[in-house]
């Protein structure tokens, strides 16, 4: 597998489209932890037919949207340390209780970004192996949440596949990912490889295989 020339790449779904696909797959009454960054978009695409409760691992259940400038309380922040709000029916707890929710399997869905995802569901998303090592709550989330969804570009900025036979970066967890939402496809991790659940309308399965380092099937 050689790198793809990034100029030749087909443009896939934009991040809002990916976020709306994930939002559609979260059932009514789910407890969800959205990772910092791109996954935060998901909450904007939840339809009226369901209510989702957001968990932030720093002790906040029932997280609401960013407050107006005049309503900011620096004691009310999310895991990304940004000011947020709390919705009616929300609650605060300490860190051990918050991670009991995660580790105890009470969080239904956790949506995270990825650097690499292996065909067996291994995830690498916390360390490039360089710089100051910093893991935060990622290892707890992938080990504890009932379903771990990855939201990612299919390729790195350098045009290398993120879906790989075997991760080369330090793992966040082994065999933890259940589903991947990329700009090219929605794929499940199965015993037989990456199973395509939905393919971007502009690309073929052959193209998808050519930008994926691991068996793809439909």
């Amino acid at each position: 597998m050689t790198n793809i020339n990034t100029k030749d790449l087909i443009k896939g779904w934009d991040r809002n489209t990916i976020a709306s696909k994930i939002a559609n797959d979260l059932p009514h009454s789910s407890y969800v932890n959205l990772g910092i960054g791109m996954p935060e978009l998901v909450s904007q695409y939840i339809k009226e037919d369901r209510e989702i409760i957001y968990h932030s691992e720093n002790g906040l259940l029932g997280m609401g949207p960013s407050p107006n400038e005049n309503e900011i309380d620096l004691d009310l922040i999310n895991a990304g340390k940004k000011p947020v709000s709390i919705l009616p029916g929300g609650s605060f707890c300490h860190h051990a209780d918050s991670f009991s929710m995660i580790r105890g399997g009470h969080i239904d869905y956790c949506i995270l970004g990825a650097m690499e995802i292996s065909v067996t569901g291994d995830l690498a998303n916390w360390s490039t192996g360089k710089g100051i090592p910093a893991v935060g709550g990622a290892m707890d989330l992938v080990a504890g949440a009932k379903n771990v969804f990855v939201m990612t570009q299919h390729l790195t900025r350098e045009g290398k596949p993120k879906l790989v036979q075997k991760c080369t970066l330090p793992l966040t967890g082994a065999g933890v990912v259940s589903r991947i939402y990329s700009d090219y496809a929605v794929l499940d991790i199965t015993d037989d490889g990456f199973k395509v659940i939905q393919l971007n309308e502009d690309i073929t399965i052959e193209y998808l295989q050519s930008v994926t380092d691991g068996n793809i099937y439909q």
């Binding site: 009616p88 929300g90 051990a96 009991s100 105890g104 009470h106």
Partner: protein, 237 residues
């Protein structure tokens, strides 16, 4: 669509409970004991239950009544010798009900561990006693500890003071006891609650059991007071 965990009646809230289930029952003595839910189980006739609780029931009310109806095959508890216990001792002495004794703090921690995704932990409680028999030992900093395993359940039966439709709970005084950790440790937590409030009426700083640990609620405004019921000679059914 709004989340609403409030069920309309006892039949609905108990609909998933099955024969052979393991059920945690909250309460320490009568405080926090979900008597109406237990009576619902008697009405339903569910059998071969394993009960995890601190005690084994008083009189012929609540857990005492359920045991008296021979719906329970095993009790896991810390103290099965209550002054007012009648049904458990009778069956136990006839060899017709099993008992597993667990120290009270170990019982609480094993339940909390199950709810927290901790499959096992080490404790000094019980080291050198008959209750350490068969348990793995390990030395930490020169001191001996035993390995205790998480204790989980299919259902938790819980009594709370206030709730909202999300399942956020508060308790009254020492009626809190095992209830919050049992909500964490069971696959499905069923809660009988005195008062149901609007979500905005419960201060998020004061929630004791966050709704994530609760699946179903039923409003029981005037629950039976066990002490009075036993004094009045109540038996159920």
């Amino acid at each position: 669509m709004q989340i609403n965990k409030i069920k309309k009646d006892m039949t609905e809230i108990l609909s998933d409970v099955f024969d052979g289930a393991t059920i945690m029952v909250g309460g320490f003595g009568e405080a926090g004991s979900p008597i109406e839910l237990l009576h619902g189980l008697i009405d339903k006739g569910t059998k071969d239950l394993t009960i995890i609780a601190n005690n084994s029931g008083n009189g012929k009310v609540g857990l005492g009544a359920l045991i008296g109806q021979r719906q329970v095959k095993k009790v896991i508890c810390s103290f099965a010798r209550s002054a007012k216990g009648v049904t458990f001792p009778e069956l136990y002495n006839k060899g017709e009900i099993e008992l597993e004794v667990v120290p009270q703090g170990t019982l609480a921690e094993r339940i909390r561990a199950a709810g927290s995704g901790i499959p096992g932990f080490y404790t000094a409680t019980g080291v050198g006693t008959p209750l350490a028999k068969g348990k793995e030992e390990k030395i930490f900093n020169g001191k001996k500890y035993i390995l205790e395993q998480a204790l989980k359940a299919d259902f938790a039966f819980v009594k709370a003071e206030t709730a909202d439709r999300y399942g956020n709970l508060t308790y009254n005084k020492t009626a809190r006891n095992f209830n919050p950790i049992m909500c964490m440790a069971a696959d499905i937590s069923l809660v009988q609650v005195k008062n149901i409030l609007e979500p905005s009426e419960i201060n998020p700083e004061h929630v004791i059991t966050p709704g994530i640990f609760v699946q179903s609620l039923i409003n029981i405004e005037n629950p039976i007071i066990e002490t009075n019921a036993i004094e009045e000679g109540m038996t159920y059914p």
